[in-house]
Amino acid sequence: MFWRMISGALFRQKGKMLMIAFTVALGASLATAMLDVMLDVGDKVNQELKTYGANINVMPKGASLLDDLYGVEEGAGVSNQYLKEEELGRIKTIFWAFNIVDFAPYLDANVDVQLHSNAGSVTAASGTSTETSVSSGGSTSSGGSANVASGTAGVELVGTWFSHHLELPTGESLDTGIKNMKSWWDVSGEWPRDDQPTSALVGSILASQKGIDVGDTLTASTQGRQQDFTVVGIFNAGGEEDEQVYVPLLAVQQLTGRAGLVSSVEVSALTTPDNELSRRAAQNPKSLSIKEWETWYCTAYVSAISYQIEEVITDSVAKPIRQVAESEGAILEKTQLLMLLITVLSLVGAALGISNLITASVMERSREIGLLKALGAHNLPISWLVLAEILITAVVGGVAGYFAGIGFAQIIGHSVFGSAIDVKPMVIPLVAVLIFVVTLAGSIPSIRLLLRLRPAEVLHGR
C-alpha cells in the first residue's frame, strides 16, 4: 500500500515531481562541476604557470661562483667543474619524476664570430660557397675566413637542447628542451633541430647590431677551433639572452673540446607552494626529525625536488629560482582559494535553492496531508510517505545532475585549459551527502509544520 501510494503520487504528479527532479539535478550538476573544477584547478594552473620557465637551476658544485663573481670563464680551476650529460636522464627517475615537466642543459663558450652575409651582393657568392661546405658536413672549415663580412669578438655561444629526444633508463622516452621551456621567446624563422649541429638561433639585439639575418652563416672560433653555423632563426626573449647565440649542445661540446659535459641545467617542475617545513628544510634538511624529513621528501616542494636532483646528479647544486618558485606558489594558492570560495558560494546557493523548492512543493500539499489525517492516518506514516516520494525524486535528479555536472566540468576544462578535468571519485559521496542533507533539510520542517495543522482547517482552506 505504501509503495502503491508513492508510485501513485509520483506518476499522478508527474509535472511537479519532474520539476523537483530537475531542480535537484541542476543543483547536483552545479555542485559536481564546481567540486571537480576546484579539485583540479591547482594542477591545471600549475601547468599554465610553467610558461614562466624553469624554477630550478642545477649547477656543478663550487663552479657557480667563479663566473658570476670574477668573470673567470676559462682556464685553471674552471675546466673540471661540469655536469655529465649522460646523467641528465636520471632527473626523470627521481621520486617526483612525474612532476618534472621539462629540462634543458647549457654549455656556454665565449667565441669570436665572423659573419658571412647572404644578403649583400658582393659577399653573396662567398656566402653560397660557405653554405655548401656547411651542408656537406659542416665540420671545421677555414675556407670561409677569406670572405669575412664582419667579425665580432666575445660573443656568448650557448649550447643547449632545443627539443631533444631522450631515451630513459626506465624504458620511457621524452622530448625536452628550451623550445617548450622558453614559451615567451618570439622566434622569427625556425627553431634549430638538435640533429643538425650547425644550425643556430641568434638573439635579436646581437642580430640587429651585426645585421645578421635568417640564412646567414656564422663562423665561431675559440681556442684555435672553428665551426660554421647557419642562422635558422632570430629570437626576441626580452632579456640578456638577446645578446647570445644558441646552438645545439653537441656543437659547443665539440668546439670547446668538452665532450659529454654541460655547465648547468634548468629544470621546470610542478611544485607545491612552500610552507614553514619546506623553508626549514631548504636551510638544512638534516635539521628535520625523521618524520618531518619523510613528509618533506614525499611532498613536491621545490626544495625537496632540488634535493632529489642533487642526489642523482654527481657533484651538483640544485637551487630554486625564487622569482619563479615563490610567485608560482603565491598565485597557485590564491587561485585555489578563490575557486574554493566560489565553490562554497555556489554549493550554498544550490543547497538553498533545492531545499527552498522542496519546502514550497511540500507546503502546497497541505490539502492532501489534511485529507490523510482526516482519514485517520498517523503522523509518522504520512511523514514517511512524503519523505520517500521526495527522496526518490531527489535521487533520480541527483544521478542525472552528477553526469550533467561532469559534462559542465569538461566544458570548462576544454575551453579554458584545453585539456580534460580529472573526474575525482571523491566528488560522488560529497554530492550524494549534499543532496541528501539538503533534501531532508528542505522537507522535514515543512512536513512538521503541516502535521501541526488541524485537518478541518486545512480542508476548509486557510
Binding site: 511537479k16 520539476m19 530537475f22 531542480t23 541542476l26 543543483g27 550538476s29 552545479l30 564546481m34 584547478v41 594552473v45 599554465e48 604557470l49 610558461t51 614562466y52 620557465g53 637551476n57 657557480s64 661562483l65 658570476d68 663573481l69 614559451s183 615567451w184 618570439d186 626576441n236 626573449a237 626580452g238 632579456g239 637551487k319 629560482i321 625564487r322 622569482q323 618558485a325 615563490e326 610567485s327 603565491a330 598565485i331 590564491k334 587561485t335 578563490l338 575557486m339 570560495l341 566560489i342 558560494l345 555556489s346 546557493g349 544550490a350 538553498l352 535553492g353 527552498n356 523548492l357 514550497a360 512543493s361 507546503m363 502546497e364 559542465f408 566544458i411 570548462i412 579554458v416 585549459f417
Partner: protein, 378 residues
C-alpha cells in the same frame, strides 16, 4: 484611483496572508541575486587583483641607458618614471652597480632604493633583516658562503672612487639574500651609501619598474617613454609580461566560465522555485476567472507580485553579494574589492525579469484552462 487601490490591496493581502510562501519566494530570488552580484563583482575585480598578485614575479619594465651611454642621469630617470601612471606603479627600484673589493676579492656592489626593491622584487628571501639604517648592507648567499659572513658581522669594502681616489668603508651585514639568480653574488646597499663612498651622485645603471598593467598598456608606456625621454631606452621583460598575459588570460577565462555556468544554473533554479510557488495558486486563478476577472488583469496582478519579489530580492541580493565578494577578496587577496554601483540596477532588473518570466509561464497555463476544470482540481 479605486482600481489601483484594489490592485494594491490584492497584492499586499496575498503577500501578507501567505507569509511562509512569501519567505520561500523571496529567499529564492535573494539567493539568485546574491550569486549574480557576488560573482559578477568578483569577475570584474579578479583580473585587477590577480594582476597585482602576478607582480610578485618582479619587474616587468626596465629602463636602461640609450645608445652607448654607460649610465642614466637620475633626473632623466625620474622624468621617465613620471610618465608611468602613478596608480599602476607597484614598485620602482633604481640600481647603480660598481665593482668593489671585499678582502681583495672583487664583488659587484649595487646601490639601490631598498624600499623600492622590497616592492619591486617581493620574491627575495631574506635571512636576517632588510637594512634600516645607513652603513648596513644585504649580501647575496654566494658572497656569504664565500666570505663566511652572517647577519650582524661586519665587512670592509674598498676600491676606486669616481675620481680615481682609493675609497674604503665599513658596513654591517643586516641580511642575506637568496633568489636563486645572479643577485646572490651581489652586495646591496642604499644608493646614498654607495654614492657617498664613490664620491659622486646622480648616476644609475638600470631602473627596474614593476607596473600593474596589461601588455597593451605596457606597450603604450614604453612608446611614451622612448618618445619623450631620449636618453632612456625602456625595455619590457618579456619573460614576465608574455607569461603573465598567457596565464592571466587563462585564469580570467576560468572565472568567466565558472561565473556563466553558476549563474545559468542558479537562475534556472530560481525560476523553477518561482514556478512552483505560482503553480500552487491555480485554484485562486480559477476562482478569479469564475468571478469574471479578465486574463489580462490576472496576469498583471501576478506580474505585480513578481515585480515586488524581484525588486526586493534583487536589492537584498546585491547587498549580500557585495558582502560575499568582499569576504572572498579579503580572504584571497587581503585587499578590499571595489564597489560597482552599476551592478545594483542590473541585479534588480535581472531578478525582476527572471521572476516575471517564471511567474508568467504557470499563470499563462492556468488562465488558458477553463475555470471549472481548475476549480474541480486536477
Amino acid at each position: 484611483m479605486k482600481r489601483q487601490t484594489m490592485y494594491l490591496r490584492m497584492i499586499t493581502s496575498s503577500l501578507v496572508r501567505r507569509r511562509s510562501r512569501l519567505l520561500v519566494a523571496l529567499l529564492a530570488v535573494a539567493i539568485g541575486a546574491t550569486i549574480l552580484s557576488g560573482l559578477v563583482t568578483i569577475y570584474y575585480d579578479v583580473p585587477r587583483q590577480l594582476g597585482q598578485e602576478f607582480r610578485s614575479y618582479g619587474a616587468n619594465l626596465i629602463l636602461v641607458p640609450a645608445g652607448d651611454e654607460p649610465s642614466i642621469d637620475r633626473d632623466t630617470a625620474q622624468r621617465a618614471v613620471d610618465l608611468i601612471p602613478k596608480d599602476e606603479v607597484v614598485g620602482i627600484a633604481p640600481y647603480r652597480y660598481e665593482t668593489l673589493k671585499i678582502n681583495e676579492q672583487p664583488t659587484v656592489v649595487a646601490g639601490t632604493d631598498l624600499e623600492g626593491v622590497q616592492k619591486a622584487s617581493p620574491y627575495w628571501f631574506i635571512t636576517g633583516e632588510w637594512p634600516t639604517s645607513s652603513k648596513s648592507v644585504l649580501i647575496g648567499q654566494e658572497v656569504a658562503d664565500l666570505i663566511r659572513l652572517t647577519p650582524g658581522s661586519s665587512l670592509t669594502l674598498n676600491g676606486t672612487g669616481a675620481e680615481g681616489q682609493a675609497v674604503s668603508a665599513n658596513f654591517t651585514v643586516s641580511g642575506i639574500v637568496q633568489t636563486g639568480g645572479t643577485e646572490e653574488a651581489f652586495v646591496f646597499m642604499a644608493l646614498a651609501d654607495l654614492e657617498a663612498m664613490m664620491g659622486d651622485s646622480g648616476k644609475l645603471n638600470v631602473v627596474e619598474c614593476s607596473i600593474s598593467a596589461d601588455q597593451d598598456d605596457l606597450d603604450k608606456i614604453v612608446k611614451n617613454i622612448s618618445n619623450n625621454v631620449e636618453e632612456v631606452s625602456p625595455r619590457l621583460v618579456k619573460r614576465v609580461t608574455e607569461s603573465e598575459g598567457t596565464v592571466l588570460t587563462k585564469l580570467q577565462a576560468l572565472v568567466y566560465l565558472v561565473t556563466v555556468v553558476v549563474l545559468l544554473l542558479t537562475m534556472i533554479c530560481v525560476a523553477t522555485t518561482m514556478m512552483a510557488v505560482v503553480a500552487e495558486r491555480r485554484k485562486e486563478i480559477g476562482l478569479k476567472k469564475a468571478l469574471g476577472a479578465s486574463n489580462k488583469s490576472i496576469v498583471i496582478e501576478f506580474l505585480g507580485e513578481g515585480l515586488f519579489f524581484g525588486a526586493l530580492g534583487g536589492l537584498l541580493g546585491s547587498g549580500l553579494g557585495f558582502l560575499f565578494a568582499q569576504v572572498v577578496s579579503m580572504n584571497v587577496f587581503t585587499r578590499a574589492i571595489s564597489f560597482q554601483p552599476l551592478l545594483i540596477p542590473v541585479t534588480v532588473v535581472v531578478s525582476i525579469a527572471i521572476t516575471g518570466l517564471a511567474c508568467l509561464l504557470p499563470v499563462r497555463s492556468a488562465t488558458d484552462v477553463d475555470p471549472a476544470i481548475v476549480l474541480r482540481g486536477e
